[in-house]
Point group: C2
Chain length 298, copies 2
């Protein structure tokens, strides 16, 4: 079988595995599945579609969206300029997920793996990053360690590079904060595509072992209004990042992707309080300090 | 006195008048005032600052922000390209307000009036628009009529043009919806600046008579969870517009403005529900229909 097809099959299989594992940790939430067709701008050729699976109002996960897509279309001038190529047809497949847990002690997580084909270039990109509301050093370290092990199987220098890229990418310039405690982020992996695909699969396989132990460790810790309010406030930063900076979101909206599947990354409930400042020395202030100065977790 | 100083004095006076009138309609909320200095990017010249006045957790207004600013700085390449000029120093003054009422029956409102000076060009811009959660035809008509009267004093053809520009500007392409029922929007009013300033003052004076009667009419109507949930969901669209499309927000963030003053436009509490569709024939569905096909209100 050709590589592009194997990539798509893998993303579909990964979606199933992740949804099954998440449902097993939620006594109330079940994934709803929507298949959708891609309808490019009028006058442009294109097609394909995707499958969105979304769980809402669970008792562990307030909202979890796991999306796969495979679309063919044409890069418009703006997108082509951003990729530094001529306007031309493209083909893109990917899996993308964002999980917003109910408990403020359980971090939000995001993963994206994608394969983009242009006329005479193709590459993999993706990453995974963790956004806690309260900082547990051992959780951040576990997440990074698991991803580092996946990187090491292919390139011992990979993790350090992808970790730095993650801190740089998930950065809110207007807040001077990273979105969370990072993870890995990579893009434009071209050349030996088979080797890169093997790496992408390692990352995909590392996702559940990187995240689920944290969920299991934290989901039963008690929390009150204060922790919940802080979680909703920090979710506002998540929205700001995704709508102002995130390339995937903007690419999706720009190429007339399915809005509900693109914006399923947004948290279910969010607050914006004017000029909120956490009390010095509080756990909330401690988190913000770490977001201002990215750390080595391993 | 020179025009730029009179413009700034007017914006300051308008801020006071609006805040006083809003406080009079809220038995709990009071405006808090923050003065701030503008700190341009390192290596760039600039200065100035502003005064943000924010009321939160009122019983009529859940959040109301009224901001004035006067900043001097340098256009970076990206902003200069957007204005189709060379990078150069700029000077900008403005008043900007967004009011998020507590009741889903009272619409959110926004107004912005601004004066921008470049090396050899200066212009006024601004507008006001209404974002209801439930549609009351007479409220939308009253808002438009009051603004039309203000336009007519200066240019009988102005309202029709600015009304259309408002529908075009406050448009969420990815939702294929306008942000609300519109109002007026104008930009690049240059040439006879004294005449344009007189017009801008008319718009400023029209704001309270356009909005307050609607507040008074609706604020005591009862509402329940369903109306509240719909309001929070629609506020999500407000966030999407402001962070993805709004030029003022992006200009502010791009020029390193004071983040809290720029983002005070964001609603206090917001929901995103995956693929929510209002029941056909419901008041919620009626609103969405109007947002899909902008109407004449007069």
């Amino acid at each position: 079988m050709q590589l592009p097809q194997r990539v798509r099959d893998y993303f579909a299989e990964l979606q199933r595995a992740i949804c099954t594992a998440l449902e097993a940790r939620d006594s109330r939430g079940r994934f709803r599945e929507d298949s959708w067709q891609y309808a490019p701008e009028s006058g442009q050729t294109g097609g394909g579609g995707g499958v969105s699976r979304v769980l809402t109002r669970g008792d562990t996960f307030e909202k979890a969206g796991v999306n796969i897509a495979h679309v063919r279309g044409e890069l418009n001038e703006r997108l082509a300029a951003r990729l530094e190529v001529e306007p031309q047809p493209f083909e893109a497949s990917g899996i993308s997920l964002v999980i917003h847990p109910l408990s403020p002690h359980v971090p939000t997580v995001h993963m994206n793996l994608r394969f983009l084909e242009l006329r005479d270039r193709a590459w993999f990109g993706g990453g995974a990053d963790l956004t806690p509301y309260y900082l547990y050093h051992e959780d951040a370290a576990h997440f990074h360690l698991t991803l580092r092990d996946a990187c090491n199987l292919h390139d011992p220098a990979g993790y350090a590079r992808y970790k730095r890229a993650c801190d740089e990418y998930f950065y809110l310039r207007h807040r001077q904060e990273t979105r969370g405690v990072g993870g890995i982020f990579f893009d434009y992996l071209s050349g030996n595509l088979e080797a890169h695909f093997a790496f992408v699969q390692e990352v995909g396989q590392a996702f559940l072992p990187a995240y689920l132990p944290i969920v299991d460790r934290r989901r039963n810790e008690p929390w009150w209004d204060r922790e919940r309010a802080w979680q909703l406030l920090r979710r506002g930063r998540y929205v700001e990042f995704n709508l102002i900076y995130d390339r995937g979101t903007l690419f999706g909206l720009e190429t007339q992707g399915r809005t509900e599947s693109i914006l399923m990354s947004l948290p279910p409930l969010v607050r914006w309080d004017y000029d909120h400042r956490p009390e010095p020395g509080s756990p909330e202030a401690e988190l913000v300090e770490v977001l201002r100065r990215p750390r080595e977790w391993i």
